[in-house]
């Protein structure tokens, strides 16, 4: 029987998605549904001096208006921990409607509930709010002199300063030194589904349908905020319409929906508007990175200094970890990295696809390209001279690597060999053509809690596998069906994966590209336990043809248990279960990553190549083609894996050329708050993308050796494009995004 894992199986949730029958969390029909609308603060800093709700309350259909004056205090504010930790995971350690202070523009200051969507939205516009405004700090220029080096960032998981070797020594040993500063616009996730929660109380029990990367995070966070026993909060999220980190943490709206529903005694639907998505779910922070590379004349890095400056909120010390991969991918002996943060009138920034790696590797890989040019060396050759089989921070070997193979196969598919390195060397009419490449890396993150799944075989020979995780487009439901099928020797058609509900076995939020690895570990563990139980029953059963056989000699094929080397001896699961009066048999699998790494460093690697055309007069950049080669361990489903990697690469294109938001210094508000102003790639921007999968065996990360594909596609993609723009035009544009005015 051909293993299902590794096959390009079509998505199992394809049919509901293409027919429109998939129900997202704002699409749950409940009797008596009421609609909530959020109201955001118009100022970036100050106090609410008065909030007149009279007109709103008197408006047709209005059921309640919640403000800081009448909203019950929250029970407790849980700390900010990345949702992969498996515990409560608020996006920021601030909860609104608790007092009159405004910390950032758009901060929720009221919730209006009415009997229809239109009435709620209209009434929300009828609040009369007066403020005492205070000066705000929101931009890099305003905050630069206020910055500090934090003890730790990222929920306390990463140090604010890192080093190895002796930077001074590394600089002294070098023949070439390069200093460059990169600036980055802020980015907003903008999934097409606005975050939404439908809340319903039955007695003291709360059910939430929530658009999230982790139903457990929502459950734990809302239970903590509302002071409810976790056992009384159920969170369902069968479908989530894209997230990219924006629904990785639990923001305010699920708890606000629950409070609103409790207040009006009806189920309440709360969906953010597109505009509110810019001020309600975090963002990738605006930032500046300064990098210093020092190298010998033959291209060996001797020193790397990488500093980052960025704003964080008044509540949390958050920066996306931009320095990580850039500090590890090359074997540079002397290193210093430092985060500098300043307090700003902003939400706490948050995870956004390739959080940190994309921005950090943009600086690193653009600088490497520039260094290659200075040294007169092929950019790929410079990388090859510096890559390292061990993590330079710890000296531990990578659990699996594959980077050289990614370079080789990527370069081959792209046609890198024989490239004329001279900028402006290729022209087609108005178009200047350039090519560029970059390395990619993404850490393999591990959950902190046991990951669980349940496998239940029915006597008809079909299996149901269950785990709490939602599928927000990763294809997890599809690949877990494949994993279960292989473990139980069943065709995929006889396996079903049920997910997206806290009533099912616990899984942490699927973030940081960790989902496929940890959930496959849980499903594999459960299905293997079930298989072992089945075989144990067969060999112990006097009426079974396998009676007395060594359990280790029994293998599973197509729903049958047979003796290895003697497939004629055996029986089907169904035969045995009928005989034993078993309607079903189930097993719970629990995978504990524990300390896991066993002296290994965990990272996924890849290589990116891009070709751009730049209009010589008009400065327009068009990406003509992209090639990415990635080594994500085992590939569970090449079809869905390619799709995710492709999506990541096009995100890299967007980050490099389109996506930008900025705080306005004067008002402390975002310049863009719609999809008309915040530009994401449309179909016409997206070239065909060639994704090469380099499978590497990894026996360390998790039982199936899966390292994940959600983010690495974006890492380095922007740098490859920027390097191609330089090759085309001779201009180094050290910013994201690169826009027309940079190239005129």
């Amino acid at each position: 029987m051909t293993p299902a894992v590794g096959q390009p199986v079509d998505r199992v949730d394809g049919r509901p998605k293409v027919t429109g029958s998939a129900r997202f969390s704002a699409e749950i029909p409940l009797p008596g549904m009421a609609y909530a609308a959020l109201v955001g603060a118009h100022i970036a800093a100050g106090r609410i001096t008065s909030i007149d709700t009279g007109e709103a309350e008197a408006a047709e259909g209005v059921l309640a208006v919640l403000t800081h004056e009448n909203t019950p205090p929250i029970a407790a504010q849980p700390p900010l921990l990345p949702s992969l930790a498996g515990t409560a995971a608020p996006g920021q350690t601030f909860f609104p409607l608790q007092d009159d202070v405004v910390h950032y523009a758009g901060q929720h200051i009221a919730v209006v509930v009415a009997d229809t969507h239109e009435r709620a939205q209209h009434a929300a516009s009828l609040l009369h709010v007066r403020y005492a405004e205070e000066p705000s700090v929101t931009t890099l220029d305003q905050g630069r002199d206020l910055a500090h080096v934090p003890e730790a960032i990222f929920g306390g998981f990463m140090p604010g300063r890192m080093s190895r070797g002796d930077l001074r020594k590394g600089i002294d040993e070098a023949d070439v030194r390069l200093d460059a500063t990169f600036t980055y616009a802020a980015n907003n996730h903008n999934p097409i589904e606005p975050p939404a929660t439908t809340a319903s109380w039955e007695g003291g029990e709360l059910t939430l349908w929530d658009a999230t990367q982790g139903v457990t995070s929502t459950q734990q966070t809302v239970a903590a905020l509302l002071g409810l026993p976790v056992s009384r909060v159920r969170v369902v999220g069968h479908y989530t319409g894209g997230s990219f980190g924006g629904k990785a943490m639990t923001w305010h709206h699920p708890a606000l929906a629950a409070i609103a529903a409790r207040t009006v005694g009806r189920p309440v639907k709360l969906a953010l508007t597109r505009e509110q998505m810019f001020t309600s779910m975090g963002h990738r922070e605006e930032q500046e990175q300064t990098i210093m590379l020092a190298a010998t004349g033959d291209g060996r890095l001797t020193a790397l200094r990488h500093h980052k400056l960025s704003p964080t909120s008044h509540f949390d010390e958050w920066a996306e970890p931009s320095l990580g991969v850039a500090s590890q991918i090359y074997g540079c002996p002397h290193y210093e990295g430092e985060y500098r943060l300043f307090r700003a009138n902003t939400m706490t920034p948050t995870f956004m696809r390739a959080p940190g790696e994309a921005s950090g590797m943009f600086a690193m890989e653009c600088a490497m390209d520039e260094l290659a040019e200075r040294l007169g060396m092929d950019p790929l050759e410079l990388r090859l001279r510096n890559i390292t089989a061990t993590d330079p921070m710890t000296g531990d070997p990578w659990s699996s690597w594959g980077l050289e193979e990614c370079y080789r196969r990527g370069a081959e598919r792209f046609g890198w060999a024989g490239r004329d390195p001279r900028p402006r060397s290729r022209r087609e009419g108005h178009w200047m053509i350039g090519t560029g490449m970059a390395s990619a890396g993404y850490p393999v993150a591990q959950p902190l809690t046991p990951q669980r799944a349940r496998a239940r075989l029915y006597a008809d020979g079909t299996v149901l596998v269950q785990a709490a995780t939602p599928d927000f487009g990763t294809g997890v439901a599809t690949v877990m069906t494949q994993v279960a099928a292989d473990a139980l020797g069943l065709p995929v058609e006889r396996c079903r994966f049920e997910n997206g509900d806290t009533a099912l076995p616990q899984i942490a939020a699927a973030v940081g590209s960790a989902g496929a690895g940890m959930i496959s570990a849980a499903v594999h563990t459960a299905a293997t336990a079930l298989r072992d139980a089945l075989v144990a029953r067969a060999v112990a059963d006097a009426e079974s043809p396998l009676h007395g056989a060594d359990a280790g000699a029994v293998e599973l094929r197509d729903g049958r248990m047979v003796l290895r080397g003697d497939p004629g001896t055996g029986e089907s699961y169904a035969e045995m279960m009928h005989r034993q009066f078993l309607p079903d048999l189930e097993a719970l699998g629990s995978w504990n990553p524990g300390s896991g790494a066993n002296g290994h460093a965990l990272m996924t690697f890849g290589a990116q190549f891009a070709e751009v055309a730049v209009d010589a007069d008009l400065g327009i950049v068009r990406v003509r083609r992209m090639v990415g080669a990635f080594a994500p361990g085992r590939v569970l489903n090449p079809k869905t894996a390619r799709s995710q990697l492709m999506g990541g690469m096009i995100w890299g294109l967007g980050q490099a050329l389109l996506e930008a938001n900025h705080m306005e210094a004067r008002t402390g508000r975002w310049a863009a708050s719609s999809l008309g102003d915040y530009l994401v790639a449309v179909n016409a921007d997206a070239p065909d993308v060639d994704v090469e999968l380099v499978e590497v065996e990894d026996t360390v990360v998790n039982p199936l050796g899966v390292k994940g594909v959600g983010e690495i596609g974006q890492v380095g993609a922007g740098a490859a494009i920027a390097n191609a723009v330089h090759h085309a035009t001779g201009r180094r544009v050290r910013k994201m995004p690169i826009t027309i005015e940079d190239l005129l």
Binding site: D617, L657, H662, T667, D685
Partner: protein, 329 residues
């Protein structure tokens, strides 16, 4: 969105009478501006008078070679009309480079002329905007102005006129015919699209209840040799940073006739008359194209964020004209 009532009109006269009689009634055509701005609480009519059933949808070639475009013809319908594609390619191109296929199926030509600016401060009722609330100030001048206008601005408003097709029509001396409480009228583009000056809230000379019925495009033989070039960050589904509508006729290497209008840079669809004047009779060479563009853009008053549009506009004019002369770049 505030509560609204609704009326579907079946006759033009009734529709006009209904809106004229009620200062808080608006016409509703394709809805792509009206419904959007209702939801933003920028517009606040009491009632919408739906004019989609009125017989104003024709696209006709007249015996004198002029074109009559019914105000309720949809953008997609006009772009597809063979007469438009053959005789006025710049109109078809401008239409198909605007918005998206869905929006072009909805938006009417009259509505396109009446569409409101895309300035974020105009759309945001919490921001100062002289166009929305006269006298409240202009947040854009000191704010985010990358997409804003550099020509025809005032100290009170720098919002860019967003239309593509209006730029093509401006180049062709199109006229806008209306019916209203004061009877039938006809406006040149110059008359129809008002500069903001110190009354940016007044965008058109129309009276309340006055309805666009027809857009007339005179027979412009050189329009057969025309193009609309649009420059933007995204390859599609975005308003112009700069656009150029151009038609050109040469004789012996000299410019015999030229039509030039700019989008993305003006507070109204910007007929580049100075550039046209410079070019008439001049040798059709890139240096002259560039000089003509400079002459036109000399009046530009950019902000620090949109200063690049001045140079970009010059280059886009050159490119558009080069495309029409087939000059090598």
């Amino acid at each position: 969105m505030r509560p609204i009532s609704y009326t579907r009109a079946t006759g033009t006269t009734d529709a006009i009478a209904a809106v004229t009689a009620d200062p808080r009634s608006h016409f509703l055509a394709g809805g792509t501006t009206e419904v959007d701005l209702l939801r933003q609480n920028v517009l606040a009519p009491r009632r919408l008078v739906d004019i989609n059933d009125l017989p104003l949808t024709g696209v006709e070639e007249m015996p004198d070679g002029s074109l009559r475009i019914g105000a309720l013809a949809r953008m997609s319908q006009v772009a597809q009309a063979p007469v438009v594609r053959e005789r006025f390619p710049l109109i078809a191109q401008a239409l198909e480079l605007g918005a998206s296929a869905q929006l072009r199926n909805m938006a009417s030509m009259g509505g396109n002329m009446m569409q409101r600016v895309r300035c974020g401060y105009f759309r945001d009722t919490a921001s100062a905007c002289n166009k929305r609330v006269p006298g409240s100030g202009c947040a854009a001048i000191e704010g985010t102005s990358r997409g804003h206008a550099v020509l025809g601005t005032s100290a009170h408003c720098i919002a860019t006129h967003p239309s593509d097709v209006a730029v093509a029509l401006a180049a062709l001396d199109a006229r806008i015919r209306t019916e209203g409480p004061g009877g039938e009228r006809s406006y040149s583009f110059e008359e129809f699209f008002l500069l903001p000056g110190d009354t940016p809230d007044r965008e058109h000379p129309l009276e309340h209840g006055e309805l666009i019925t027809v857009i007339e495009v005179p027979s412009v033989p050189i329009a057969r040799h025309s193009a609309y070039l649009k420059v933007r960050d995204r390859e599609s589904y975005e308003f112009a940073l700069v656009s150029v509508a151009a038609a050109l006729a040469l004789a012996d290497g000299l410019v015999l006739d030229v039509r030039l209008a700019l989008g993305g840079v003006g507070t109204r669809p910007w007929r580049a008359e100075r550039a046209e004047e410079f070019l008439l009779g001049a040798p059709a060479i890139p240096q002259n194209f560039h000089e003509a563009a400079r002459v036109e853009m000399a009046a530009a008053r950019p902000t620090s964020m949109n200063a690049f549009k001045v140079e970009l506009a010059c280059r886009t004019v050159v490119r558009a004209l080069e495309t029409l002369t087939g000059s090598p770049s």
